[in-house]
């Protein structure tokens, strides 16, 4: 028996993973010693592109994890294949399959997060330090997209609050804003969208400090594939998926509600809060039901749960708030 292997990888996902691992080993061997880790990652990406344009640069690297009481039970996991090939990461194209094809060049090492705004001192965190800050937990969460589809994903990370404590925000900090990586050379411009990058999202401080909000480094026992927001992202399971910003490079603490990408584009459809709420429709479609990804077409529809089923943990954050007004 293998020690340290997470129990929930479907057998279907193992074979291709081994191939990636072998390729990783080969690539690592080929460039090791001579160059820095950062250069190695870039070089590996280039080489990998020659072998297979679909290579997931760091995917395949296993992460050591511990169990978490905050994990969601009783749901079938969405397959690794679906989780990693059905993505909204518009910087890499608007088709669901585009990020898994185009995100190979995302340079996930070296990687830092700049922290500024209402903090004691601005700081820079290195990804390697962040990975060691707290033990990484296995957290299965439901993931509900504003487009009315949903998944169940075994994420890996620790509570965002643990990271925020390290940032030492001032008492005047009421909101936190996240910025995603953007480089036009990597995320090539195309005529399929007209959105102002870099992507920005935000949370109210008490939302960000809720233990369910996850600073996420991996899924399915491994580091995040690029298309899922490598090397580090936010996951806020009681909100629509776009609130969970990917590939975070900046965190800013603010005394005012920050501007966020989708809210700027269409405030009538994408509120700042965007809590999963079956009683408040998107102007274009009902949010009462959702389509579970990976099910056959005649069995996809499920009822959407208030706060995506996380009411017990988060409903108190919104006591006294009119959730129709603050959608």
């Amino acid at each position: 028996m293998l020690i340290g292997k997470p129990p929930d990888i479907p057998s279907s996902a193992i074979t291709p993973k081994d191939q990636y691992l072998n390729r990783r080993r080969f690539l690592r061997g080929a460039v090791s010693g001579a160059v820095t880790l950062g250069a190695a990652a870039r070089g590996a990406d280039r080489l990998a592109d020659v072998f297979s344009p679909r290579i997931r640069a760091f995917a395949g690297t296993k992460l050591e994890t511990i169990k978490s009481p905050l994990t969601t039970t009783g749901e079938d996991l969405t397959s690794y294949m679906a989780v990693t090939t059905y993505n909204n990461f518009y910087e890499f194209g608007v088709d669901k399959g585009a990020p898994s094809k185009n995100a190979g060049g995302l340079p996930t090492r070296p990687w830092t997060i700049q922290v500024d705004g209402k903090v004691k001192n601005p700081k820079t965190f290195d990804i390697e330090a962040l990975l060691k800050l707290r033990p990484l937990e296995d957290r299965v969460y439901r993931h509900r997209c504003v487009e009315a589809w949903s998944m169940v994903i075994p994420w890996i990370g620790y509570s965002l609050s643990e990271f925020i404590k390290q940032c030492e925000p001032l008492s005047t900090a009421k909101f936190v804003q996240f910025h995603s990586y953007y480089d036009r050379k990597v995320e090539k411009w195309s005529l399929d969208e007209a959105i102002f990058w870099p992507y920005s999202e935000g949370l109210r401080m008490d939302e960000a400090m809720n233990p369910l909000a996850l600073l996420t480094f991996g899924l399915y026992g491994e580091v995040l594939p690029n298309q899922n927001g490598a090397p580090v992202r936010i996951v806020v399971p009681w909100k629509y998926g776009f609130k969970s910003a990917k590939s975070i490079v900046g965190v800013r603490f603010l005394d005012k509600m920050p501007s966020t990408t989708w809210n700027d584009l269409n405030p009538g459809e994408y509120g700042f809060y965007s809590n999963v709420n079956p009683n408040v429709d998107n102007p274009r479609y009902s949010q009462k039901t959702e389509r579970r990804i990976g099910q056959p077409f005649y069995a996809q529809t499920k009822s959407t749960l208030m706060f995506n089923g996380y009411s017990d943990q988060v409903a108190s954050l919104y006591n006294g708030m009119d959730l129709r007004k603050y959608y």
Partner: protein
């Protein structure tokens, strides 16, 4: 062009037009419609509808520009009917998979969601065109009336493209290709008409010989 020479291109047209449907049927039976089969069925049938509509609209300008291609007219009805076929599949997929046959939710959708209103309008505009597509109906209506009725296809295509724009998120430009194609087809009509007028004037003035 002779009837027998048309058999091969007609067969090919059938195959090309049925390709997307075949993929969906095969995918449905093998459970191989991708991670979000419902969305796949809905989006692919919608896109194919607009694509076929625009192709069918391109036929008459092409004939005017290149008289040697005038035989293309023999394919227009077939392509137009396939556009209606996909539009109907698109509609059925909405009724069955999105609205779950719930009449009340469909009425709410039509009343309050403008992209659905526009989509239904586009389908309703195509319906009389499909119903009057038989040779019998053309004879019954008379060529002039039939032609007038069938200019509705432009309205249907415009409604379809607006439906597409209203369906995608703000900032997403995926309907752009189809929109530009349709805009070109609209722009080319007055240009071709002007060219035609000038030619006939020249013929009348005797500057060029009639015929070629």
């Amino acid at each position: 062009m002779k009837r027998s020479t048309l058999i091969l291109p007609k067969t090919l047209t059938w195959i090309v037009c049925l390709w997307q449907f075949g993929l969906l049927v095969y995918g449905a039976f093998t459970n191989n419609l991708g991670p979000d089969p419902t969305a796949n069925i809905e989006l692919s049938t919608g896109y194919t509808t607009l694509l076929l509509l625009i192709i069918s609209l391109a036929i008459s300008p092409l004939r005017k520009l290149f008289p040697r291609l005038s035989w293309l007219i023999r394919f227009r009805r077939l392509i137009g009917l396939f556009a209606f076929f996909y539009a109907t599949l698109h509609m059925i997929a909405y009724v069955a998979l999105y609205a779950n046959f719930d009449v009340r939710s469909m009425l709410t959708d039509i009343a309050s969601r403008r992209f659905i209103t526009m989509g239904v309008a586009a389908w309703l505009l195509l319906l009389p065109l499909a119903l009057t597509s038989t040779t019998w109906a053309i004879g019954k209506l008379g060529g002039k009336n039939w032609n007038r009725l069938h200019t509705l296809v432009y309205a249907a295509a415009v409604c379809g493209v607006i439906h597409f724009w209203w369906q995608v998120k703000t900032g997403v430009l995926s309907p752009l290709n189809l929109t530009i194609s349709l805009a070109i087809l609209f722009a080319i009509r007055p240009i071709l008409a002007w060219r035609q007028r000038r030619k006939s004037q020249q013929v009348q003035a005797g500057t060029i010989a009639p015929g070629k």
